[in-house]
């Protein structure tokens, strides 16, 4: 009995996970269609949204998510009214967007979360919108629809598995949902119900044939879609309706609350990602080839006479397959950045509404894939950069027109993959950075020395410092100066890089460079302090022989070295990391991060390797000049240098050289 209970709970939890994923996608679709509706009056959009709301309502009802069922029902009523009438006004769209937000919150709360009448005020608003939609057309609205096509009839055959009732799934709420789509007749097939004495009352022996007049087949399929494992459902159109055997009148109220009860202790869903089938197929093929090669090597090993050529060939093949397997596995972890960017249209819409601005958002390259770990952390920094663009960058329409610009501001987000990194650019055609104001504010706060002349780039970078803001007023949207430094820190922790470009009056562009994968990277092996270290290859600009004559000590300031035509600040990594130096610097490795370059003094430069990055322990993670570790081919451990942390070392931290010469 205990194992049966456990199994039922497992089935329940799996069903809830499936519903959560599909409802989350549905809510995203709902939101995207609503935003499209603002600029494109298309009756198909309303139909699509109605179907989504209906499916969400059905699923929520099954899991006793009463508040979610109610909100979805109200939204469905609004959309149903607009299916046959005028197009929704902007006010109606805004209320529906509120509804989408409520659904999202309730979905996250799960069964048992949210009091049934928690959103009573929102429900009233939705009901008011629905009533207006059913009445006179809203001002400015245009009719979308002509004659609706005659409803089709569908024959629905439902053949549940024995487990249906034990999985706490009752067909009644689902039949209720179908009854709301049109006229429903239900015939129960009791032919497989055993004699009373043999009956297990928790086992399902019933099946049903239904006839639905009026609902589209895809909506019916969607209603049952998440019950794939418990129910075989077929939906087929039929010609003229046969007279119903038994007619079930549609209920006037919402369906009774759930029949599938999920225990309160079901806990948060397990982390999961969606993986394309072609990636999985490629991985399976590689594994098959690997097993074949492994068999070949085993056979060669057992053979009496050795065949070095065949052995060498098999080993080479093994190496190739292992590398390909690794790539495949990395690709499994990758997901398109659209999963992060798809909330931006809504963000832009809401903020533009609130600020009285007109903004057009363009996203290019949303199919570009990044490692899942990078995706999970890049969302908030991108949101912050976008909010800054909207709040500080894009001017109000009147100001833009006075400046000779179109009234609607343009924000473009471009994502592109280049070898082992992804580049994300957020560009706007707004005011651009006010370098004079930035410098003045920085000097006020002691963040920039009054006497020191700074380039435009250096001034722009001042806004990345903690607490910096030139905003005269703190808005709810931005202006506290709490954000850009966090953005920079997050990007650095991801092994990435941030650069700013701005032209006063024309706009600003923020460029983020991020590694495609955090799990594997190309590293440059170097030697200093008697150990081997790894410098991320993406950070290495060049390597040159150390020449003491090229060192210049700027009195009272930094020690620099001439590399080509450039003076680059020198960094002794041994001093920075607090390890003994052999003081035998033969080479200079010029590294770059966040637009800053440093000349690392190293003893030797080794080969380049693709390495698997290992996280540091909690104690070592506190060393800010280290970002990870890797096991080398000889089994030894090498630490990965955090180039961004080294480059952001303050002037005071930059050590002086013990031997110098003046030019």
């Amino acid at each position: 009995m205990a194992s049966m209970t456990t199994r039922i709970e497992a089935i329940n939890a799996a069903l809830l996970d499936t519903f959560r994923e599909e409802a989350s996608d549905g809510i995203d679709q709902l939101e995207a269609r609503l935003l499209e509706l603002v600029t494109r009056r298309d009756p198909e959009l309303v139909d699509q949204m109605f179907r989504v709301a209906h499916t969400i309502k059905g699923g929520a009802g099954t899991f006793a998510m009463t508040a979610m069922t109610r909100v979805a029902h109200r939204m469905e009523s609004v959309l149903d009214a607009y299916r046959t009438g005028a197009a929704p006004s902007q006010a109606a769209v805004n209320v529906l967007l509120e509804g989408a937000d409520a659904l999202r919150g309730l979905l996250a709360a799960g069964p048992g979360g949210g009091a049934p009448d928690e959103f009573a005020a929102l429900e009233s608003k939705l009901e008011a919108v629905a009533q207006r939609a059913r009445g006179a057309p809203e001002p400015g609205a245009a009719a979308l629809h002509g004659e609706r096509t005659p409803a089709t009839q569908l024959a629905i055959a439902i053949a549940p598995s024995r487990e249906l009732f034990r999985a706490q799934v009752d067909p009644v709420p689902l039949f209720d949902q179908l009854a709301m789509l049109g006229e429903l007749s239900v015939r129960a097939d009791v032919s497989k119900v055993p004699a009373f004495a043999e009956l297990d009352p928790t086992s399902c022996h019933l099946a049903w044939q239904l006839t639905l007049t009026g609902g589209p087949a895809e909506m019916v399929s969607a209603l049952f879609g998440w019950l794939d494992e418990l129910c075989a459902v077929t939906v087929e159109p039929i010609a003229p309706a046969a007279p119903p055997v038994a007619t079930a009148a549609p209920r006037g109220e919402l369906a009774a609350p759930a029949v599938a009860q999920v225990s309160a202790g079901s806990g948060p869903p397990a982390a999961s990602i969606r993986v394309r089938l072609d990636k999985l197929d490629a991985l399976m093929n590689l594994i098959g080839d690997l097993m074949t090669t492994q068999s070949t090597l085993s056979a060669l090993g057992r053979a009496a006479a050795s065949d070095p050529i065949r052995q060498r060939s098999a080993l080479d093949e093994l190496q190739r397959l292992t590398r390909s397997l690794q790539q495949s596995a990395l690709q499994l972890r990758s997901m398109p950045i659209s999963s992060v960017l798809n909330r931006f249209p809504r963000l832009v819409y809401d903020l533009a509404e609130r600020l009285g601005k007109a903004i057009e958002l363009e996203v290019i390259g949303e199919a570009t894939e990044l490692d899942r770990t990078v995706l999970e952390r890049i969302g908030d920094p991108l949101v912050h950069l976008l909010r800054n663009s909207i709040d500080h960058g894009i001017e109000p329409p009147a100001e833009r027109v006075a400046a000779g610009k179109p009234p609607a501001g343009q924000i473009r987000i471009t994502v592109s993959a280049r070898s082992d990194e992804v580049v994300i650019e957020i560009a706007d055609d707004g005011r651009g950075l006010d370098t004079a104001k930035i410098l003045a504010r920085a000097r006020e706060r002691g963040l920039a020395a009054a006497a020191r002349a700074l380039s435009d780039d250096e001034i722009h970078r001042l806004i990345l410092l903690p607490g910096f803001s030139t905003a005269d007023q703190i808005s709810e949207i931005s202006g506290r100066g709490v954000g850009m430094d966090v953005v920079v820190r997050t990007i650095q922790e991801l092994g990435g890089d941030l650069q700013l470009r701005s032209i006063r009056g024309a706009g600003s562009t923020t460029v983020l460079r991020l590694p495609l994968s955090l799990a594997v990277m190309d590293g440059q092996l170097v030697q200093f302090g008697g150990r081997t270290w790894i410098v991320p290859l993406a950070s290495v600009a060049e390597c040159t022989r150390f020449d003491a004559r090229a060192i210049t000590e700027l009195v009272g300031q930094r020690t620099v070295i001439r590399v080509g035509d450039e003076l680059v600040p020198v960094l002794d990594p041994c001093a920075r990391l607090g390890i003994a130096s052999r003081a035998r610097h033969n080479l200079v490795l010029v590294v770059e991060a966040n637009g800053q370059r440093r000349a690392l003094l190293v003893d030797e430069v080794g080969p380049r390797h693709q390495i698997v990055v290992k996280s540091l322990s909690a104690q070592l993670a506190r060393v800010d000049a280290l970002s990870g570790a890797a096991v080398l081919g000889d089994g030894s451990l090498a630490f990965i240098v955090d180039v961004a942390a080294l480059c952001s070392a303050t002037e005071q931290e930059t050590p002086r050289m013990t031997t110098t010469s003046r030019r």
Binding site: L164, Q168, D170, F196, L199, H205, L206, W208, V259
Partner: protein, 105 residues
């Protein structure tokens, strides 16, 4: 949990929920009533909830009574019970006739 089905001079009162959770207990009670025999009058106006499992159980019981040459007479039924049986396409199979529908508290 379902409240107990009382045996009352060839009449059986059903009350509370008749669902997958209570079906095993109700099955045992109905099985006991089958052993007693006689025409069965069912009073179901206090049934607060019926689901597919409950409807299946009642069908199996009704069918067994008829197989034994007797019959089931529904004296009363709650609105919830009637509507659910209809929604499941089982009202006629259970014998929930107009007479039963006419008697509602």
């Amino acid at each position: 949990m379902a409240e107990a089905a009382e045996l009352r001079a060839c009449a059986l009162s059903l009350s509370g929920p008749i669902t997958v959770d209570t079906a095993p207990l109700i099955w045992r009670l109905l099985a006991y009533h089958l052993e007693v025999g006689a025409t069965c009058e069912l009073h179901a106006h206090e049934v607060v909830r019926l689901d597919g499992a409950g409807a299946q159980l009642l069908y199996a019981f009704v069918h067994e009574v008829e197989r034994r040459g007797s019959m089931v007479r529904w004296v009363s039924a709650s609105v919830e019970m009637i509507e659910t049986a209809r929604m499941l396409g089982m009202a006629e199979l259970l014998g929930l006739t107009e007479e039963a529908l006419a008697w509602r508290p």
